[in-house]
């Protein structure tokens, strides 16, 4: 069996190098085809009719006018009479037509008679949700009551972070075509190998009937694991139209409403501490909604990172709303819990009149990796100019523009998922590597190729990589930052297994046993005697008519040290706040990110840029606005569903903690960890700048001005 361990840091030619995305030019030039770009011959367009009511029962539905419309090929009723509609935007019917505009117009001709029922769509005030609140009980550790009694300082705060959507650049949807009993399915998914069986199950057909293809996808962030109702309806519309390809993608407004949200988190936090800043107790009473299904909270997450605070009382209430259900959102619940923990700690520091950097550092013993967090705090402070720029809360000088710094915290797993890879070496020397995985735009293609090329001693361009198709060996969906560890490990093993077969073919010619051979710089050579070598192509010719094709698998229960999980991270935000207008400008975010073996520092840094950018929207501008009376989401366009543009982002400074010690841990995913600290860091920076906590994010001018007003009062 080959030795699969990663080559030593100083011997790596491609792994650990900042190689640009292999599909970068294709994407930047628009040549990359996403499923939503497809325009197949004879393709029909699907459109959905959705409910305008947040809660209703369908009395009757009349599709006759739509069916009569010229160009309409299929009409399907989704919500049959008697169906209870539980949120505005719920799917009621679907149409396929020869043109998109015909499909959309036909949908409007469907007449639905609804019995409108009472709805609840807002949970920001718990007192207003009535029976929709479902208390989840209390978790107590230690003796919080005694700890609060004995505390030198008790600090209390109320904080809130509302529901927001994933808002993927490529909306949800798919193209589906049938050929007899075989279906070709072009989804936009985080799981190329898993989504086919998922759809097959809904349609009650064998999973073998579904061929999935997806070369590129425009963001999922946790919202694109399922084949979804619209996937099944697209398949049915196609079948009802004689198998013609049907393209059904949600428009932006529908996507924002029904294709996944991140749960809110609201609540009161009380902290106890000694004079020296040692935290002695945590108490939180929180509530959240993730839509109709409520909104749970794993009590173990509180207090975030500082989990070993000895005395804790954690209460949580889930609230069911007439709104579409939550989906995993980049580090489920972590950004919300991180925000509430970091701001409560910073408020405690302010009560103690203590530098929060000291408070976060002092209490690091409560974390799983005290030394790592302390070192990261130090590094982040150094990069942010903390000692020069930080000041006591509100002590920010004259003039309307106030500057402040704040700290945020992170933790995450990120160990590799189950993945299989097949490496094939042909007698002409060409190499193909195949995995049923997906590149979400993160650089997965690039890192797999780096690993394969490094393992085979070949240049990057000698590897042909095939992914994005379920005919290749299966890999798990991309969730939980598990992809890079999974696919790199399976690729490493598969490539070395194939290489061993090639060694066996050339060993006699080189007069050395297989375990004394190595592949370096396009040659197979004898270890310690590189003069004894054979060029790659010549070596492969020795295979004659035989082709080598070897598998490799990452087994999450036995990773052989190739990958692992568990990272921390610290961020420091630097903001300027105009106290006359309440406008917050982000100057900088410093990201100090713990990591394992970094396969590609460039794509790793990109993960950090992307994470901070996504998170800062939630800190400053992004939220779902629900209307109490109509029960609808009001900001369903990108004008009022506010996201940062380039000029709103500020300067993002990334420091990856690359060191031999971390490297030895193996690969750890970085998709999620850097998204966790940003909101807390920005909120703390604003509090530092203006001298008062803005309790609810996003910190829009109205909320900032209201907080300043309260301080005056």
């Amino acid at each position: 069996m080959p030795d699969y361990k990663w080559p030593p840091m100083d011997k790596r030619r491609l792994i650990g190098k900042p190689i640009s995305r292999l599909d970068g030019a294709e994407k930047a030039s628009g040549r990359a085809k996403y499923s939503s770009d497809l325009n197949l011959p004879g393709m029909l367009f699907g459109a959905l009719l959705t409910s305008p009511h947040a809660h209703a029962r369908v009395r009757s539905i009349d599709t006759s006018e739509a069916e009569k419309t010229a160009g309409v090929k299929a009409v399907r009723v989704i919500a049959t009479p008697g169906t209870e509609i539980r949120w505005a935007g719920a799917e009621v019917a679907a149409v396929a037509a020869t043109k998109e505009e015909i499909a959309r117009d036909a949908v409007r001709k469907i007449k639905v008679d609804y019995e409108v029922l009472p709805h609840v769509v807002r949970e920001d005030k718990l007192s207003e949700v009535g029976t929709r609140a479902k208390p989840a009980g209390e978790t107590v550790s230690g003796d919080p009551d005694a700890a609060f009694k004995e505390a030198d300082v008790v600090s209390e705060g109320e904080y809130g972070i509302p529901v927001l959507a994933h808002c993927c650049m490529e909306p949800h949807g798919q193209v589906i075509a049938w050929d007899g009993k075989q279906m070709t399915y072009y989804p936009t998914t985080q799981g190329v190998s898993a989504i086919g069986p998922d759809l097959a199950k809904t349609l009650e057909i064998p999973a073998t009937s579904v061929h999935v293809q997806q070369q590129h996808m425009g963001g999922g962030f946790g919202s694109k694991f399922q084949s979804d109702l619209w996937g099944a309806e697209c398949a049915r519309l196609s079948r009802a139209s004689g198998g013609s390809p049907v393209k059904l993608f949600l428009d932006r407004a529908t996507d924002l409403v029904i294709a996944g949200v991140r749960p809110s988190l609201w609540g009161k936090v009380k902290l106890a501490a000694k004079k020296d800043g040692t935290i002695t107790a945590w108490q939180s009473e929180t509530w959240s909604t993730g839509g109709f299904g409520g909104g749970g909270l794993n009590a173990d997450l509180f207090p975030y990172v500082y989990r070993e605070v000895p005395n804790r009382r954690i209460q949580h209430t889930a609230v069911s709303l007439n709104a579409a259900s939550q989906r995993a959102w980049r580090a489920p619940m972590h950004p919300q819990v991180s925000f509430i923990t970091a701001v409560a700690m910073e408020d405690m520091a302010a009560s103690l009149k203590m530098d929060p950097l000291e408070l976060f550092s002092k209490n690091a013993n409560y974390t799983a990796r005290a030394e790592v967090y302390r070192a990261q705090l130090k590094k982040a402070a150094e990069l942010a100019g903390w000692s020069k720029l930080w000041h006591a809360r509100g002590d920010s000088g004259k003039g309307p523009i106030k500057r402040g710094l704040g700290i945020g915290i992170s933790t995450w797993g990120g160990a590799g998922h189950a993945s299989q890879c097949r490496t094939t070496i042909h007698p002409d020397g060409s190499v193909v590597v195949e995995l049923g995985t997906q590149d979400l735009g993160t650089g997965t293609r690039t890192v797999i190729t780096q690993v394969a090329a490094e393992s085979l001693g070949l240049p990057i361009n000698a590897i042909k990589l095939n992914i994005g198709d379920n005919k290749y060996p299966p890999s798990n969906p991309s969730g939980g930052s598990t992809t890079v560890g999974g696919v790199c490990s399976s690729t490493r093993k598969s490539a070395l297994n194939a290489l061993e077969k090639l060694f066996a073919a050339v060993a006699p010619a080189l007069g050395a046993p297989v375990d004394q051979l190595e592949a370096v710089d396009g040659k197979i050579q004898v270890k310690g005697n590189p003069a004894k070598n054979i060029a790659w192509k010549a070596a492969c010719q020795k295979l004659g008519m035989q082709t080598i094709s070897e598998m490799g698998a990452n087994d999450p229960r036995a990773t052989l040290g190739l990958n692992t999980g568990g990272v921390g991270g610290i961020q420091i935000a630097d903001v300027s706040v105009d106290v006359e207008t309440g406008v917050v400008k982000l100057n900088r975010i410093v990201i100090v990110q713990d990591c394992g073996l970094i396969v590609n520092p460039k794509t790793s840094e990109s993960q950090c840029f992307g994470a901070a950018t996504m998170a800062l929207c939630g800190a400053l501008m992004e939220e779902r606005v629900m209307d109490r009376v109509t029960g609808r989401m009001l900001n369903t366009g990108l004008d009022f569903y506010k996201l940062a543009g380039i000029s709103d982002i500020g300067n993002i400074i990334v420091h990856l903690d690359i060191s031999p010690e971390h490297d030895a841990r193996g690969i750890i995913g970085l998709g999620e960890p850097p998204v966790n600290p940003t909101i807390g860091a920005i909120s703390n920076a604003v509090a530092n700048a203006i001298g008062v906590r803005v309790p609810t994010v996003p910190m829009t001018p109205d909320r900032v001005l209201a907080a300043l007003e309260r301080r005056k009062a």
């Binding site: 207008t581 309440g582 209307d627 109509t630 009001l634 109205d702």
Partner: protein
């Protein structure tokens, strides 16, 4: 989108012949940045769309003794590329820059800026200009963070025009043409606050086209626009103020102060204008004018912060104008 007939006339005369007497039957297409969205949402359902971008006489910027003439189809980008606009009418240039998307500035026209429909999310969700449901406006107790603080209803949306406040402050007029004749209106009178759901928010009559805007010469007039905006990338301002100060020495002889994003029309703040008349603009005078500008504000349940923003916008616009050249 409802199917429609498309016409692309080459002359104004031809265009006027293609318009209709009944409201909503024909829509005029210039940049299309708003109309196409309205049509997709069935908020506009014209039977005919008349493209006016190929009509030469509706384009171009000319400087004459009467001032600056802007053809209705001049794009915001053309406006910003014009040296006279940039140097003499900084209030207008700042307002155009406030449409902070290069793509929108490339396509959007000055006429379209004045004629576009409100962005009120109740209107855009199909509840009409007055945002009515079951005989009651949804706005006063609803989600009104971006709504009006002046006017007192029944319309609570804010005028979507970015250029309107600056044009009013600068004393501009619009010219309107129809097959039955031409007329001219001060820009201030072009904007209307609807009283009923059938009313429109501009004075255009069915069959009428906005053909040009004329801004009087700005000699001796210091002007500026300050926009409070949360984002630098594509976003609407939260409150704006455009000011024009006719100077006499270092003092203000007369002033115009116009607020944007605070009422169903651009909002002329005559109290603020009076507060600076005869005075030299100082921090304190500007502050007092800001205070005067919002004296009659009637904020709704969730937009009192806009009173503060309007006050600050006036103060900062005045200070900026005072620093500028006459």
């Amino acid at each position: 989108m409802q199917p429609f007939e498309y016409a692309s006339p080459k002359t104004l005369q031809e265009a006027l012949g293609l318009l209709a007497a009944r409201p909503g039957e024909v829509e005029v297409l210039a940049g299309g940045t708003d109309l196409l969205n309205l049509m997709k949402e069935f908020l506009a359902t014209p039977k005919r769309v008349v493209n006016i971008k190929d009509i030469k006489e509706l384009g171009g910027i000319q400087k004459t003794t009467a001032g600056l003439r802007l053809g209705a189809t001049v794009t915001l980008d053309e406006l910003l590329s014009n040296a006279a606009v940039r140097s003499e009418y900084p209030a207008l240039a700042a307002a155009a820059r406030g449409v902070n998307s290069q793509q929108m500035r490339n396509m959007g026209t000055v006429g379209g800026d004045l004629c576009q429909r409100p962005y009120c999310w109740y209107f855009r969700n199909g509840f009409g200009l007055l945002a009515m449901k079951d005989g009651k406006s949804l706005v006063p107790d609803g989600e009104n963070r971006y709504h009006a603080i002046f006017g007192g209803g029944p319309a609570y949306f804010v005028s979507a025009s970015s250029l309107g406040p600056a044009l009013i402050a600068l004393g501009a007029k619009v010219k309107l043409a129809s097959s039955s004749g031409n007329r001219e209106l001060p820009v201030e009178q072009f904007f209307l606050a609807p009283r009923t759901a059938q009313d429109r928010e501009v004075a255009l009559r069915p069959g009428e086209i906005l053909t040009e805007i004329v801004i009087p010469p700005a000699a001796g007039v210091r002007n500026a626009t300050y926009e409070v905006r949360q984002k630098e990338a594509l976003d609407y301002a939260l409150a704006t103020a455009s000011v024009a100060l006719r100077m006499k020495g270092s003092a203000v002889e007369s002033a115009q102060v116009v607020l944007g994003q605070v009422a169903p029309t651009p909002w002329v703040a005559s109290g603020a204008a009076q507060a600076v008349a005869g005075k030299t603009i100082t921090e304190q005078v500007a502050e007092q004018a800001g205070q005067a500008a919002v004296a009659g504000a009637k904020p709704l349940s969730g937009n009192a912060y806009k009173v503060q923003l309007a006050r600050v916008a006036v103060k900062r616009a005045l200070l900026e104008a005072a620093r500028g050249k006459a």
